[in-house]
């Protein structure tokens, strides 16, 4: 009993001293609560349509965060990220449709196939840099789309592969499965970027030659980044295929590749939380704009342009800089109203 009280107290202390002092951490806690309590929220939870929108939002959040892991952190600009999504979706769909592997098996295997795709395109692309890399990676999903159209009997052609098993019987349970996977995977991605591996990846982005000078095999780390990112995007693709119960060419389209770039840069790259937040803002926003059906993509584009003009580094880093400031001495973050640093009591300017 005492032990439980001890851990409870410890939790309370951590919450009070570490979480509540910084608004961004409070926001993260609130975000977790929002995602987990969504189906019981009064307005959104009762509407199956809104539940569907937020389920897709969760899937795309994994996808956008995986783009940030590869292109944001490691700096390997990937314009064909839909490749991983599409390969994941198609392999999960094929496995489920032909061999009848249930979703909990087909999604991870699909993700592993996406890892393989990441390695296959990663090895030739390692020689390329910057804009070359971006424009070359753009080509791969388009090549695959051509193959899908050219073999309509095996790969479903324009209609895609339909009749896939759903993740769970009820909509709410599917939402919970996808949401919890999303929160878990995004936490893992954040942990990766916060670890030593993340520091190396970040260093490769900043200056690859310097990293190589430090005795680090950058090729290996870049391939690792390709496979990790491919894995997470493949999971997103498999979830998408099982949720929509169809894997079609739309999962490979250029517009999807561009969409993920838009989400990530809008939210702020090199942050993981930026792309996730951006998907949770932009994807439901597109549905809110439904009041003017024909013009909603136009309004969407205008909103993006307007926000970029004022916050070219992305929305969430900008917001974070507004509500928090960095201590000049110990580099710890502080609430913006504080006069002195909460750790080292130095004057904040």
């Amino acid at each position: 009993m005492d032990l439980i009280i001890f851990y409870f107290r410890k939790l309370f202390t951590i919450l009070k001293k570490e979480v509540l002092v910084l608004p961004s951490r409070v926001v993260v806690i609130l975000f977790f609560l929002f995602v987990l309590l969504l189906p019981v929220l009064p307005v959104i939870g009762n509407d199956p349509y809104m539940l569907r929108i937020f389920t897709l939002t969760c899937i795309y959040a994994i996808f956008a965060a995986s783009w940030d892991l590869l292109s944001g952190y490691t700096g390997q600009m990937n314009f064909g990220h839909a490749l991983f999504f599409g390969v994941g979706a198609y392999s999960a769909a094929l496995l489920n449709h032909h061999i009848h592997i249930p979703p909990w098996g087909s999604i991870p295997i699909g993700a592993l196939v996406a890892v393989l795709a990441g390695l296959i395109i990663g090895i030739p692309c390692l020689r390329l840099k910057g804009t070359y890399l971006a424009l070359t990676t753009l080509a791969f999903p388009i090549i695959l789309i051509g193959i899908v159209f050219a073999f309509p009997d095996q790969l479903g052609g324009e209609l895609g592969i339909s009749g896939i098993e759903r993740i769970a019987r009820s909509k709410v349970i599917s939402y919970y499965i996808i949401a919890i996977i999303m929160l878990g995977l995004c936490t893992i991605m954040w942990a990766i970027t916060d670890s030593k591996l993340g520091i190396i990846l970040h260093a490769i982005r900043e200056d690859e030659i310097a990293v190589r000078t430090a005795g680090i095999n950058t090729t290996r780390y870049k391939l690792l980044a390709f496979s990790l990112s491919g894995f997470f995007a493949g999971v997103a693709g498999g979830l998408y295929a099982h949720y929509m119960r169809i894997a079609g060419p739309s999962t490979l389209e250029v517009s999807l590749s561009f969409q993920v770039v838009i989400w990530s840069i809008f939210g702020g790259i090199v942050s993981i939380y930026g792309p996730i937040g951006a998907v949770f803002v932009l994807f439901p926003l597109l549905e809110l704009l439904r009041f003017w059906e024909q013009g909603r993509t136009l309004m969407f584009a205008c909103i993006i342009i307007l926000i970029l003009l004022y916050m070219p580094d992305g929305l969430f880093p900008w917001l974070r800089d507004k509500i928090e400031k960095e201590c000049p001495r110990c580099k710890k973050r502080n609430f913006w109203r504080r006069k002195t640093c909460r750790i080292c009591t130095a004057e904040l300017d």
């Binding site: 390329l128 910057g130 695959l144 051509g146 030659i209 970029l308 003009l309």
Partner: protein, 290 residues
């Protein structure tokens, strides 16, 4: 004579890609902007001509001139309002141009609906060569593309403005130190590049169908051409455009279900070339930007 058919189709699509890719290279070189809205201007020009020639009944020739001028103006204004303030943030520029292209696509869908439209040829009729109908419009398109490319070559190689553009492409900071107004050159390059996109749209429009999504395929092919030829190299863009143009037409005519595979084959060629030469065929290796 299927060979001649292949040749003509390849020549036409090669010329279009060359015009687009050279424009893209100029703006990339002088302003370091990856302009993904480039082919959206091509689409806008096509719609302008449709509006003028079919709706207003004016001769399509005037429509073409108006389209090029209008698109150039539009491009320059868009550059000033949207791109110029965020030019230092490469990622932001990228999605700003995608958003711009999406906006143009939606505006055109709102005005013209998403149906397929066409424009009458400038000169009707055809001449039979070796038993193949060669339309005068095809010859005209090809000729016009060549004349414009020649003019552009003179502009870039012989005039002071061209010299300034090339100097800025080589090294922005040093060009600035030599008294070249770098931001004005960037604007000039934008105007030329967008004008070329508009011109490409204008000469190709009688040979294709117009719809709001017509910018996607040329965009991908144009980027493939630019990468294949080497970023920033005008000669590379020119050669790469014809390689991919002919590859596309070969696939369409010779392989069953080739229309689906044409993009795949062209892009595979690009990847193969890049595996052997990572800087493209005529790649100019830019100084390591760190």
């Amino acid at each position: 004579m299927i060979l001649l058919d292949i040749f003509i189709t390849g020549l036409i699509s090669g010329s279009t890609y060359a015009l687009l890719a050279i424009g893209f290279s100029i703006i990339f070189g002088a302003a370091r902007i990856v302009n993904l809205a480039h082919t959206a201007f091509y689409m806008v020009a096509s719609y302008c001509i449709y509006l003028v020639s079919t709706k207003m009944g004016i001769h399509p020739g005037w429509g073409m001139i108006m389209a090029v001028i209008l698109v150039t103006l539009l491009g320059t204004i868009a550059y000033q309002i949207v791109i110029n303030p965020i030019r230092e943030h490469h990622g932001a520029v990228l999605i700003a141009t995608i958003a711009l292209a999406m906006a143009f696509q939606e505006i055109m869908t709102l005005i013209f609906k998403s149906s397929y439209l066409s424009v009458p040829a400038l000169i009707k009729g055809f001449v039979p060569i070796l038993g193949v109908k060669v339309f005068y419009q095809q010859i005209l398109t090809f000729g016009a593309a060549f004349v414009v490319m020649g003019g552009l070559w003179i502009l870039l190689m012989e005039t002071r403005a061209g010299l300034a553009i090339r100097a800025t492409a080589q090294d922005r900071e040093v060009a600035n130190l030599m008294g070249i107004n770098e931001s004005r050159i960037a604007m000039l390059a934008t105007a030329i590049s967008v004008g070329l996109a508009g011109f490409a749209g204008a000469i190709v429009v009688p040979l294709t169908v117009i719809n709001p999504r017509m910018w996607e395929h040329p965009l991908i092919m144009m980027m493939a051409v630019v990468v294949l030829g080497g970023l920033g190299s005008l000669k590379g863009s020119f050669v790469g455009a014809y390689i991919l143009g002919f590859a596309e037409s070969l696939v369409v005519f010779l392989i069953p279900a080739g229309a689906f595979l044409k993009g795949s084959v062209a892009l595979s060629i690009m990847i193969l070339v890049l595996l052997i030469r990572p800087d493209g065929l005529f790649g100019v290796s830019f100084e390591e930007e760190r």
